[in-house]
């Protein structure tokens, strides 16, 4: 009996040593464009080349390795199409060919993005909760934003001098979130201008921004109870060309001599040309953008600058609208979450645990 058992174990052991495995499986939780390949060969292997069948006995190499046990994910495939793979293994005195096949299929949920979904849900729920709380009378504190102090000062000075205010809503179209943030600030500014009977000039680069700006200003004048004071000609289209647009605004600043200039939204290479010309006219200047590369120019040439996120917070700060304050509080929850994640992530990395980082990194691949 012992002899048989010994023989049985020798057979199992030797077969496990010599077993050559080459498997292809659909990559789980993906969009059906990848196949996972795995191989286990004798440790004596010198070279492994994996090829994919294309057509007419034509195979293209997709991966090569010198490892006896390994895996590889072939990407860029078409979903629901059968793919054949060939493994060519070279040993010191022999060679081996193994074949396998698999069909990639798409799944409804990409598990790798779970971290993205969880963080997004958490932040969205926080925003909804705070908006709900604000609607039910809960008051939220919002810290002082120095850049917005200029608004009253600018309107006051423009009213005293009988000069208009120039408002540039950036040079991007409505598909830029900064332009939308800019239009919400414009709404508040236009309402104040209407109250003080001060003209507001809004040159626009794109037709969609022009239409939206006109709507916003018109509504602001109606809200202020002065719909007749609204001048649609003060909100006008200049040109789609970036530097043509800037040249036009420079001309307005020089000839109309606005008492205050507001540059709010997305700006690129033209930021310094705009702000420097405005500075030379002696107007009070306020700028706000989330374009990190343009902020230095605004910081040095403008009296007040809204840095990055302050542009998005400005609307809530100015209006004190419970809904916007609640939303801002929700955003702050997101920032606190980011700080917490970074601190915990760094501590875990120091301890040699990378699970949290990998979980979040999986969401952005």
């Amino acid at each position: 009996m012992q002899k048989y058992l010994l023989f049985f174990f020798i057979i199992i052991f030797s077969s496990s040593l010599s077993a050559n495995i080459f498997e292809a499986n659909d990559s789980p939780w993906d969009d059906g464009k990848a196949i996972d390949l795995r191989w286990e060969l004798s440790p004596m292997v010198q070279q492994v080349v994996i090829s994919r069948y294309v057509s007419d006995d034509n195979w293209i190499p997709v991966h090569s390795s010198t490892e006896a046990i390994g895996s590889f994910t072939d990407t860029g495939l078409e979903a629901n199409t059968e793919y054949q793979y060939r493994l060519n293994a070279t040993f010191s005195d022999d060679s081996l060919v193994l074949l396998t096949s698999a069909m990639p299929s798409e799944q409804w949920f990409y598990m790798g993005k779970l971290g993205f979904l969880l963080i997004l849900l958490l932040v969205c729920l926080a925003i909804l909760y705070y908006i709900h709380a604000a609607h039910h009378g809960k008051e939220f504190f919002i810290r002082h934003i120095a850049g917005l102090d200029s608004m009253e000062e600018s309107i006051g000075r423009a009213t005293e001098k009988g000069k208009p205010i120039l408002y540039v809503p950036g040079i991007s179209d409505l598909d830029d979130i900064q332009t939308i943030a800019s239009l919400t600030i414009l709404s508040h500014l236009a309402e104040r201008c209407a109250e003080y009977n001060t003209d507001i000039i809004v040159p626009c680069r794109f037709s969609m921004v022009l239409s939206a700006a006109r709507e916003v200003v018109k509504e602001a004048y109606m809200k202020a109870g002065k719909p007749d004071a609204y001048k649609s000609d003060n909100i006008f289209y200049l040109t789609d060309d970036q530097f043509g647009f800037v040249a036009g605004i420079d001309g307005i600043m020089l000839r109309e001599q606005p008492a205050a200039n507001f540059f709010m939204g997305s700006f690129y290479a033209e930021s310094l040309i705009l702000a420097e010309t405005g500075f030379s006219t002696g107007a009070i200047q306020t700028a706000g953008t989330a374009q990190a590369h343009q902020l230095p120019f605004f910081v040095v040439t403008c009296d007040y600058t809204l840095i990055g996120e302050e542009l998005f917070a400005a609307s809530a700060y100015l209006s004190r609208d419970p809904q916007q304050l609640g939303s801002l509080r929700g955003h702050d929850f997101g920032k606190a979450l980011v700080i917490l994640l970074i601190i915990v992530g760094v501590i875990l990395e120091i301890l040699g645990i990378s699970n949290l980082k990998e979980f979040i990194a999986g969401a952005i691949t």
Binding site: R214, A292, G345, E349, I360
Partner: protein
């Protein structure tokens, strides 16, 4: 052909000098160059949008295969609704395409910025600062972590920045200002190269003073 090139160079040189004349003060030459530029660019973009966007993406596709491109009728209808602004009585119709545009932008941007501005930054900051034995690298890693945390905290609006909580905010604004200074210097250098390009045109292509 050569005469046209020469005329082109002279026109370009004239307009370059007109724009440079602004360095002295606003003057009729600058006004002329500015208004020609604005008018030409507006006309150019109108033609460009018609021939490079409207015709190939909408009219050509609908005229060649109408039934296969029915989906294009949606943006076409939205475009027509935008044109309703022309008449005061139908102006309200244009609010719908504007609303769709703003809503779509907000939705798409939320995911895009969540990924690029938040998650990528968070994972890039989750590092072991002491992984490298090199002291400068360790200091750099610590500055990266502290700068990121304090920079984010600077934009935390729901808490009064006083007492101990004002320090992370102060450190955050220092980091921001240092980065602004570096960006300013870098971009000014790039602008100087633009000026050099213009001077090369004037002194080389136009006056042939330099080769």
């Amino acid at each position: 052909m050569a005469i046209m090139t020469t005329i082109g160079i002279w026109v370009a040189a004239f307009f370059t000098l007109c724009i440079f004349s602004f360095l002295y003060k606003d003057n009729p030459f600058y006004k002329f160059a500015e208004q020609v530029f604005v008018g030409l660019s507006a006309a150019y973009w109108l033609v460009y949008i018609i021939y490079s966007i409207m015709i190939p993406n909408l009219f050509a596709k609908l005229s060649s295969d109408f039934s296969g491109n029915l989906i294009l009728l949606i943006p076409a209808a939205l475009g027509v609704m935008m044109l309703m602004r022309i008449h005061p009585k139908t102006e309200w119709i244009s609010r719908y395409p504007i609303s769709i545009m703003i809503g779509t932008t907000a939705g798409i941007s939320m995911l895009r910025y969540m990924k690029s501005d938040i998650l990528q930054q968070v994972t890039a900051t989750m590092i072991n600062p002491f992984a490298s034995g090199s002291v400068p690298v360790i200091i750099g890693n610590l500055l990266l972590i502290i700068g990121t945390i304090c920079g984010v905290y600077f934009f935390y609006f729901s808490k009064k920045q006083e007492g101990i909580s004002k320090w992370p905010s102060k450190v955050g604004i220092w980091f921001l200002m240092v980065s602004f200074g570096a960006t300013f210097g870098y971009t000014v250098m790039a602008r100087i190269s633009l000026l050099i390009g213009r001077l090369e045109f004037l002194l080389g292509d136009w006056l042939h003073i330099i080769k």
